[in-house]
């Protein structure tokens, strides 16, 4: 059980890293892109906007802490 826990913790650190908000934000942005694109509305801009907001937010939080 400990090994499973350790493995899951390692995978979390490996993929998600220091700021979980980035991972959540990416998933949400891609979900919104899928919904908007499914409605035949141009959706390519959503991910870049989300990336700028997520990166700036994460860097800003780190700078203030």
């Amino acid at each position: 059980m400990r090994r499973v826990e350790a493995f899951l913790r390692f995978m979390w650190d490996f993929v998600v890293g220091d700021d979980w908000r980035i991972a959540v934000g990416v998933v949400v942005a891609l979900g919104i892109t899928g919904l908007v694109a499914g409605a035949s509305i141009p959706a390519w801009w959503i991910v870049p906007v989300a990336v700028i907001a997520l990166l700036a937010g994460s860097v800003w939080r780190a700078a203030r802490s």
Binding site: I22, T33, G34, V36, A37, A62
Partner: protein, 286 residues
Amino acid sequence: MQQHPAAGYAQDRASLTRFSGSAEYIWAVTGTELGLAISVFLACAVEAVEALTIVLAVGTTRSWRSTLTGVGVALLALAVITAALGPALTALPINALRLVVGALLLIFGLQWLRKAILRAGGLKALHDEEKAYEEELAAARDAGAVDRTRFDPYSFTVAFKGVLLEGLEVVFIVLTFGSNQHNVGLAAAAAAVAVLAVVAAGLAVHRPLARVPENTLKFAVGVMLTSFGMFWGAEGAGADWPGGDAALLVIIPATLLVSFGLVALIRRRRRLGRRRAVGAEAAVRA
């Protein structure tokens, strides 16, 4: 109907390849392939430099035989992981593959880029291979005496963990980039060239490669991973990029520009903070 990427790839290749009467092919590389090769090469070079530092430190201080056994077993484990995950990834339908791989690359790339921006802005210590090497040396010496004729579990474990952990990032990048482009071979070749170049340089100097501009490379890799992640992730979610693959020519410089902008903002904020601190100190003295 969605065209399979392999078909598109074959068309690209056919349009770029000239066939002469003497049955010779003139090989040409598409822009996306070049981007793939450069990204994988840079990312793998960075990881290889870090792994080499650990291996050199523990091998020099303790036992080369046990260290190299650890390296060999780690490489074997990485080969097994690649063999298991590679076919599973490439078996996914193209849009699901692009969505999953794009999301993972984007999350991974943004973490790299975040750290690189904080380092460039002076908020996080720059990665220093000389310092990491000295720390590994001290830890290896503190682990007690070693009989060089016998198997040394410390050397084995440290080398195994170092190579496996750094190697996992290489495997991740090779598989995600390679499977998405249906060119795992090119990604693996770029990774192999990077690792061989770093190992050859390490053997030649027998010291950690402190002169490699590691922090700059990490910045570049973060930009590339984030850019490709954005491109594939949005495509996988169903969006169409204006200009198709050519959109990458805008996405990559734009990501770089935003990152430089954030570095400049952090530096400005730090300068202002220092000035305020000096001003407050002067006011107290007055």
